[in-house]
Symmetry: C2
Subunit: 332 residues, 2 copies
């Protein structure tokens, strides 16, 4: 007698497809915005030096901008630029009414203080959400520009239809651009402006002992991992049916063939046999990050248009356009 054990494989979350859907929706909204008489949203990327990875990232962002109807410019600056000169460039962009979103591609060269640069971007144009004031607003659940990767993770979970309300979630990694804001969006109150997800959230990190990491993951209905440690999350750490979002992105070179490939934090082949939903790497969170940058640029553009109007005109515009993070989580 042959016993066949049927394994129910996880549904693979197609980040590329979902990101495309959102870009198509955005394109429709932006076209409508332009038809209503507004100029196209405008995104300026500031790229310092010629690091190949940074150049590729910026190029991909600019390509996505064109696709959705956002005008974009890349300002290429010398790697020898001084901090003061860079601050002046950003200040000029802050004061330029034709610019809606400013993106300073990180990392900046070592002689420049990254935090000072992030804080110098006007909060209204801070489409990366890295200004410390915008970070504060996010952590207070206030309407703000949310960093793109956390926003993309939130959107993925929502579009896949995974329930988070009162569920157990684990965030692995406590980086300030990814892990921390994701923990904020997962645990906080869905009735507030960030439409957070009301999960019970455990933040694990490099000092969480492996057996404790396993214990917390085993309890989790949702796992978001962002560590850059390939293979960290294994099948025996997963609660059957859990939703596993892999933000990790590590380039691994096969020494024999010399070929490189990108991998996440999750042992994909193992985990997909236990989980209910799983993101692939690449093709999961990555495309969402770029798409959320487009969403943020459009939000910034609408907010700035409102600000430049006389007060009695603001209400009309508000009624006619979408607000950032408008769709409040309904409790039921």
């Amino acid at each position: 007698m042959i016993i066949t054990k049927r394994i129910q494989m996880a549904k693979i979350i197609d980040g590329t497809q979902i990101a495309n859907d959102i870009r198509n929706e955005l394109k429709v909204k932006i076209d409508k915005w332009i038809q209503e008489g507004h100029r196209p949203p405008q995104l300026t990327a500031v790229l310092i030096g010629s690091d190949p990875a940074s150049c590729t990232y910026v190029k991909n962002k600019m390509k996505a901008a064109v696709e959705v109807g956002i005008n974009s410019i890349t300002k290429n600056l010398s790697p020898d630029i001084t901090e003061e000169e860079l601050l002046q460039v950003i200040d000029d962009l802050n004061n330029d009414d034709s610019v809606d979103g400013i993106l300073v591609q990180l990392p900046v060269p070592g002689h420049i203080n990254e935090r000072r640069i992030c804080n110098s971007v006007s909060c209204d144009k801070d489409v990366d959400g890295f200004n410390e004031k915008n970070v504060g607003r996010l952590c207070l659940d206030m309407n703000t520009l949310v960093p793109c990767t956390p926003l993309g993770v939130q959107e993925l979970i929502r579009r896949v239809g995974v329930d988070t309300f009162g569920k157990n979630a684990v965030v692995v990694g406590r980086s300030k651009n990814v892990g921390m804001p994701i923990a904020m969006l997962l645990h906080a109150d869905g009735r507030n402006d960030t439409c957070a997800m009301d999960a019970t959230v455990t933040i694990c990190h490099r000092f969480t002992p492996p057996e404790e990491l396993k214990r917390y993951c085993k309890l989790a209905d949702i796992i978001v991992t962002a560590t850059g440690v390939p293979g960290l999350i294994k099948a025996d750490m997963i609660k059957p049916g859990a939703c596993v979002i892999d933000v990790g992105l590590t380039r691994i070179v096969n020494e024999a063939t010399g070929k490189a490939k990108l991998v996440g934090d999750v042992d994909f082949e193992g985990v997909r046999q236990v989980a209910g939903h799983i993101t692939p790497v690449p093709g999961g969170v990555g495309p969402m990050t770029v798409t959320m940058l487009m969403k943020n640029t459009f939000i910034a553009s609408k907010n700035l248009a409102k600000k430049s109007l006389p007060k009695n005109e603001v209400e009309k515009v508000r009624q006619g356009t979408e607000q950032g993070n408008q769709n409040k989580n309904k409790k039921n």
Copy 2:
């Protein structure tokens, strides 16, 4: 034969005593600061209306200020003050070089936007740590004025000598003034400016199901609860030897006698038979909050003194005085 089961009772954390110790240390430092030729630190409280609880809180703060050598003034304002008038009062205090710390007693009357008021206090004088920019800095582990209750909880845990590095902690309650910043100080990287505590942290809240709350608490080496739900944390939820910090403070009136008493979130008599350390209510976290306000005022005072010096004098002052949050967590 009589079998005696010996119960090892938790060590009660004497918040009043620890707060007194810190005030004595502060007084010595402030005396020295004044002997070095600086004027005494100055704290201005803004009290709107005459709510009895608010009046008592402010009075206690002013009393503590006198004890440690901080000059203090209470500005009593009419409950009918407009938001614009209040903003003007705060702006005047921001621009007054004789004022180091500004404390707006919350809550403000309903016709005034609390968030707008908190944000109007200069970040340098924001001794409550409620300005959104300071919240952002805290969440980024940067040097800032940390809200007094979270800072007091951190200091209590440290002074009691409870190890947090890589340990399991639970924060019950996700309020923005208490739960959220405590979760930040507990989970983040001890090598950064906030000297955070490197614990694995689970944030539980009103939508965490009771059985899950129990499960997470049972795993925790440290529990910090701040919900205002009396009796929420019971003996059967505690890991033997855990450290239990009770930030809850609820006034309960005995209907028969009409007498009122203050209680926390923890079933004290039950939990003390399981825990290793426990804070009483009152006499635990409460006295620490007021003391941390004094600490913040002195930090603000020193920072402002440094700012007003010519640059070449700053180094001398820095060498002679303590920095806020100076004692970095050493890894071992």
